[in-house]
Symmetry: C2
Subunit: 270 residues, 2 copies
């Protein structure tokens, strides 16, 4: 299984501390040796870095750790391949443009029957179930909303419904962003933590490293981190429920959707 | 004005030598201080690196020079801003997916009346004339060819016609690729060189550096480099004609289109 890492913050923030522990799992403390990637939404635009090699010894990963890029939204992924070979085109995160915004997506899990998902607008470049599901998701949203809806809640509800459908096909933990909002959907495993004043110290789980956030923050900063597994072992992370979707903005939860689906009666049939 | 650099090769080749001279122009020997970017089509996929800072002192540029990425097709750009502020979203190359391929684009020049170009499928994320023209170009191609044409020549002819139209709006020197072909369109300034056995030495124009290609190649390698201005001063570069389009594949010219437009009678009206 792959692992996900996301960040939403109210000030441009670097993710170096969390990333250090996370990328160490990529072939270090974890089995995720099949590539990694990270996407940043900065004040002035979007960029991503992807490498099909283990993050623990990737020179690009080293650059990113040593060259702090400050952003409001980050999405990162380390890969343990199941569907699709180990190559750059199969390395998350994936990106497509819709409504003049770059949408960025990373998936943890495995789907069945994904080949049947129709693709009206976007087509996968690689051969993963993940990218196919992303293209389907974006195509469905674009068909329903040729332009951005005036009420963003309509988009969020549609997104939750589509994620619930993907959950009927297998395991579908998701991070998605358009640079404004960070969407997290939990199928089996996602946890989050919000750090704000009074800031304290945090101790990484995967590597001997402590940071005292008070040295790096102001009292107005709000920074939330979302990950497949908690990254620190001296803080209290909140685990999401299956079928739950959170909409983050500036480090705060803007909206929360819970599953209306039961094991017996899925909302959307396969 | 910006500058363009492209490469097409029949074996995965690193572009470190040419890039060293080229990036030195980004705030070093040249005035292009407003960002730079580079895109690689590798065996396993596509990736790009972009930075809104001068390339001459960019840590990402240093990484790329020191970490040779081998690819068949490369597109790079250093920017001297005219339309659109200095920020990441305005930094070339730009990318959109069509037919399950990543299309990459970089432009040198400046256009007038570009705001009127219709955008049926793709929308710009930034505010440059360049990205708007790219979105128009890709949208036009996609409308004409919902799927890739069986005869690629039909696509090439359409592309040449669209480039000729953009040339009526101002200066439009272009590098474009889908990973298979590298397209170069010359509006005012583009030069190219093909290196093959017997390989010799080359001396960069912008920085004291000589490479002996014989040490880095086999006798079967064919590597072509395309640039706004020749990058070496001891080799013979071939300058393209206004309105000329070259289609490169594996370092060789696959097709060549010349302008049928005269100054008095443009083929496509404004």
């Amino acid at each position: 299984m792959c692992e996900l890492l996301g960040m939403s913050a109210n000030v441009p923030t670097d993710i170096c501390f969390s990333l250090t522990g996370f990328l160490h799992r990529g072939g270090g403390t974890g089995p995720h040796r099949d590539g990694w990637g990270i996407a940043f939404y900065e004040e002035g635009g979007y960029r991503d870095f992807r490498d099909p090699h283990p993050s623990v010894d990737s020179p690009i990963a080293r650059l990113i750790r040593d060259y702090p890029i400050k952003s409001h939204v980050v999405i990162s992924h380390i890969r343990q391949a199941n569907v699709g070979g180990v190559r750059l085109a199969n390395t998350h995160p994936f990106t497509r443009e819709m409504w003049g915004r770059q949408w960025c997506y990373a998936h943890n899990g495995q789907l069945k029957g994904w080949e049947a998902l129709g693709l009206p607008f976007y087509a996968p470049v690689g051969s993963t179930d993940s990218e196919h599901a992303f293209c389907w998701l974006m195509g469905e949203l674009r068909q329903r909303f040729p332009t951005p809806p005036a009420q963003p809640e309509r988009l969020w509800e549609a997104l939750h419904e589509l994620c619930e459908h993907l959950r009927t096909l297998g395991v579908f933990n998701l991070l998605l962003s358009d640079g404004y909002y960070l969407y997290c959907f939990c199928s089996t495993k996602l946890a989050h933590i919000t750090r704000r004043a009074p800031f304290g110290k945090a101790q990484l789980s995967d590597i001997e490293m402590v940071v005292d956030f008070i040295e790096h923050t102001t009292c107005h900063d709000v920074v939330s981190v979302i990950a497949t597994e908690p990254l620190t072992d001296n803080e209290r992370w909140c685990r999401m429920e299956p079928g739950e979707m959170l909409v983050w903005r500036h480090g705060e939860i803007q909206a929360r959707y819970v599953s209306r689906m039961t094991a017996e009666a899925p909302l959307v049939s396969k």
